[in-house]
Symmetry: C2
Subunit: 200 residues, 2 copies
DNA sequence: ACCTGAACACCGTTCAAGT
DNA sequence: ACCTGAACACCGTTCAAGT
């Protein structure tokens, strides 16, 4: 193989390539240990090249998290596309989708949660994260309109369900709690919470 | 040579000093950006000195997290010391204590949660974390014995409450969700979950 | 416009040597 | 036993220069 002849000077799609490579590395090294220099090396590019597309490491992490929230939202929105399914079904499906994403993208989810609270998080990231949490809130509001859920601020009512699902993921280790898969536990927990939301 | 001096070089008990300095730095820089060299500098000690007491940076973080779980457990155990208080009261107090600790030690809590899942986390850390989660489980078991909670595995029943409290903390930003203090929300959420645990 | 390569100021970790 | 100081192999970031 001839040195230097393997790649054109202008990579052409470096931004996308860096993101792809970074996410691939995420699950093996964790987001803490992502190295811009190592990513550049893996892509056969100088260590300063990514700078053209990401102002700094934070910007790359932000873009990764943003992309994650986008995919998570798409996945969740898809399972509640059918507006005619029962409220309980929709909420369970949303929980399952969230948990499914979290367990299959552990490091990415970790990054997403961490960056969402960062002072310097982009407005885009905040907006994409809010869209995810908006889905269950919307369904609670819908259920209220149908008289299936006690009256009150839909956001505050949905919070028990959202927090529980989020908490299960945080507490869990490699998708399990005390040996039981989170996929199983999320059903139990959500059913109990749905019961607690019923008009008395 | 018999020494009257309590400190061999610079510090008598470097281990304790490093831990203290590290926790002080935690809330200003976040656990991600803790630097052993900077801690050493602040303590007026060589950058290699802490190594005598902490095998590596992970060991220091592990010790910090361990210490955190110990204090959290003490705080939670104290509020349920009175074995005669009602089940609901005890669970609410446990939730408040957990949230109170988390909101007043944001960076430390972040570290504790992260390290608990780490492959290389010490057995001591795991045990101390488990003790914390054992407290609400114990109270669910107690309530079951009194016929106040539906039958079933106490751990799985307590999980909705534990997960919800944990989730509120993770979702929250600087102790608030949508502008509402987590201290307020945790009461609402726990009351709803307690309702869901009642025998039907 | 996009990328390189040297330079700078930091890290964590190791280790022979000092006290 | 406890700590130092130099050394090593990494970082992220900056910037003049190349294509």
């Amino acid at each position: 193989m001839k040195k230097g002849s393997a790649r054109p000077y202008h990579h052409g799609n470096l931004r996308a390539e860096v993101l792809r490579q970074a996410e691939a590395a995420l699950d093996t090294v964790g987001y803490q240990n992502l190295s811009l220099r190592e990513l550049s090396r893996a892509l056969g590019v100088s260590h300063a090249a990514p700078r053209r597309h990401f102002a700094d490491k934070e910007a790359l992490l932000d873009a990764l998290a943003c992309n994650g929230y986008e995919r998570l939202h798409d996945k969740m929105a898809a399972v509640v596309k059918d507006q005619k399914q029962p409220f309980e079904t929709a909420l369970l499906k949303l929980g399952r989708a969230y948990v499914g994403f979290a367990t299959s993208h552990v490091a990415l989810m970790d990054l997403m949660l961490t960056r969402k609270h960062d002072e310097q998080a982009s407005a885009e990231l905040r907006q994409k994260a809010a869209a995810v949490y908006g889905l269950p809130i919307e369904w609670v509001a819908r259920a209220q309109a149908a008289g299936l859920v006690v009256p009150g601020d839909p956001m505050r009512l949905a919070l028990a369900a959202i927090a529980a699902v989020q908490g299960l993921i945080v507490i869990s280790n490699k998708g399990k709690i005390a040996g039981i898969p989170v996929e199983v536990l999320v059903e139990e927990v959500l059913e109990r919470i749905i019961f607690g939301l019923r008009p008395r």
